[in-house]
């Protein structure tokens, strides 16, 4: 199989799949014996990516693989294909989602603590049904509350490759002053964030963050 042929197959498969495809899934399209090298597939992908320059489409790497999609520059026109407008999500849902994304694994009680209000079951149900959030396990405390975390689908939906790419979390102002007393009162809570720290450090500090294993 020559390079052009491989590139043609990869392009057609990515366009036909309807979901992001990982390199492994692309490899599985080939029978044993004709299987190309991983590096050849990667080369085909980057060649396809540069073919997209100046066009209304792009080939992006997301959490669960590569996906062709329309660029936001043309979305104004493309979205007219459908009568229905894209759904809007409530602030309550987005705030809950943000807390799960940045502080996973997190329990409902912890979300409620930070938001200052109860989280309706409707919201967690919606997030679970959309497969943006899943239950990672249960905390070993009375009641064994569920620990929530985000999924690959969440990242795919919001065009992200990993949690690192989430917008940086805002800073806590004048933290030294406040922390001095918080440390006394709330051991284990609150943390200092230096300016310029990247989002994943914040995640790790903020949530006893263990890398989330996706299935």
């Amino acid at each position: 199989m020559n390079e052009q042929q491989l590139k043609n197959i990869v392009e057609a498969a990515l366009l036909a799949a309807g979901e992001p495809l990982s390199i492994d899934r692309l490899l599985a399209l080939f029978e044993e014996g004709e299987q190309p090298e991983k590096s050849a597939i990667k080369e085909a992908i980057s060649s396809l990516q540069s073919d997209c320059e100046g066009r209304g489409i792009e080939l992006r790497e997301l959490a669960s693989g590569y996906r062709y999609q329309a660029r936001s520059e043309v979305s104004r026109w493309v979205s007219r294909l459908w009568e229905e407008r894209a759904p809007r999500y409530s602030r309550a849902l987005l705030e809950t989602l943000a807390l799960i994304a940045y502080r996973q694994p997190i329990t409902r009680a912890e979300i409620e603590d930070i938001r200052g209000v109860a989280v309706s079951t409707h919201i967690t149900k919606t997030l679970l049904e959309r497969s943006w959030v899943r239950i990672l396990g249960h905390r070993d405390v009375p009641g064994r509350p569920a620990l929530y975390g985000t999924t690959r689908e969440f990242l795919d939906y919001f065009n992200l490759k990993s949690l690192d790419e989430l917008p940086t979390l805002g800073e806590l102002k004048d933290i030294d002053k406040i922390n001095a007393e918080l440390d006394l009162r709330l051991p284990g809570e609150g943390f200092a964030m230096e300016e310029g720290e990247s989002a994943d450090i914040v995640l790790s500090l903020g949530a006893d963050f263990e890398p989330v294993a996706y299935d």
Partner: protein, 281 residues
């Protein structure tokens, strides 16, 4: 939301009373009839708050107050006005709003207590916990807005699905593990009683394999020379195995042998399928 109508006074705090509102010093206990936001709109407006922290943040931001130095008396008073309003509108008031009101009142009373002059002002600020919670909430409120801004499927970006007209739905062949086959054999042998009587070693298996090989060399239509079945290069053992295989095949009536004259060439052919025999697939 900056020019909302309830910010209708700028008077010094009056801590003892909790009137619905104060207009030019006069406490108001009923909703003004000429409130220029219709009650339904006000309801929507009040429902837009995501809880007490959100409401407090709104009050602070609206007046460009420093979150680290909240004029607690003023903010408390305004907060209570809103809470009263919500009650008035008979909104289902979440308990959290009342808890916050109590907390604000407590902070306010602690602020009024005289503090020792030499004490570090920061260390004992009763507002610290509130400030922490407000900031913490604000970060995630902002994060939620940022997430909302991310290019999203179906709104800012669209996935593609092209047609695959020549879809070949080839059903893959089942995979068999050698283990599975051995398992099946042990099972079937256990079931039949043969297991007890047969002790088959490698040797007979070689003969069986050779029987298969011999059969594959011959066919029912033409005779083949007996000697062609042997491969001398295999050596003595190979020749013996082939010979035993041929004898076994004869014994089991799988082949026919013909010798036209004594010491003449022996010819071998396979037994033909009978015409009226059962049709094997």
């Amino acid at each position: 939301m900056s020019d909302q109508p309830l910010n209708n006074e700028n008077h010094p705090p009056q801590q003892e009373e909790m009137p619905f509102a104060i207009v030019q010093g006069a406490p108001i206990t009923e909703l003004p009839k000429d409130l220029y936001i219709p009650p339904q709109a006000l309801e929507v407006f009040l429902e837009a708050f995501e809880g007490p922290l959100d409401l407090l943040l709104y009050l602070i931001k609206r007046q460009n107050l420093d979150i680290l130095n909240i004029p607690i008396a003023e903010v408390t008073r305004q907060y209570i006005v809103y809470v009263e309003l919500m009650k008035e509108m008979q909104l289902e008031l979440a308990g959290e709003y009342l808890v916050m009101a109590a907390m604000l009142a407590e902070i306010k009373s602690r602020m009024l207590l005289p503090r020792p002059v030499e004490a570090d002002a920061d260390e004992d600020d009763p507002r610290a916990e509130l400030v922490r919670r407000l900031q913490e909430y604000e970060r995630y409120k902002q994060a939620a807005e940022d997430i909302d801004e991310l290019p999203r499927m179906g709104r800012d970006t669209f996935a593609f699905v092209i047609d695959t007209p020549d879809k070949k739905s080839e059903r893959p062949q089942p995979h068999v593990d050698l283990r599975d086959m051995l398992m099946a054999l042990t099972d079937v042998m256990r079931r039949s009683e043969m297991f007890a009587h047969h002790q088959i070693s490698r040797e007979p298996l070689s003969i069986r394999e050779r029987m298969t090989q011999v059969l594959s060399k011959i066919n029912p239509d033409t005779f083949i020379e007996f000697t062609k079945l042997f491969t001398v290069e295999e050596g003595r053992r190979g020749v013996v195995v082939t010979f035993m295989a041929i004898l076994e095949l004869m014994k089991q009536s799988m082949i026919e042998m013909i010798q036209a004259e004594p010491f003449g060439t022996i010819h071998v052919k396979a037994v033909a399928a009978s015409v009226e025999g059962p049709a094997e697939a």
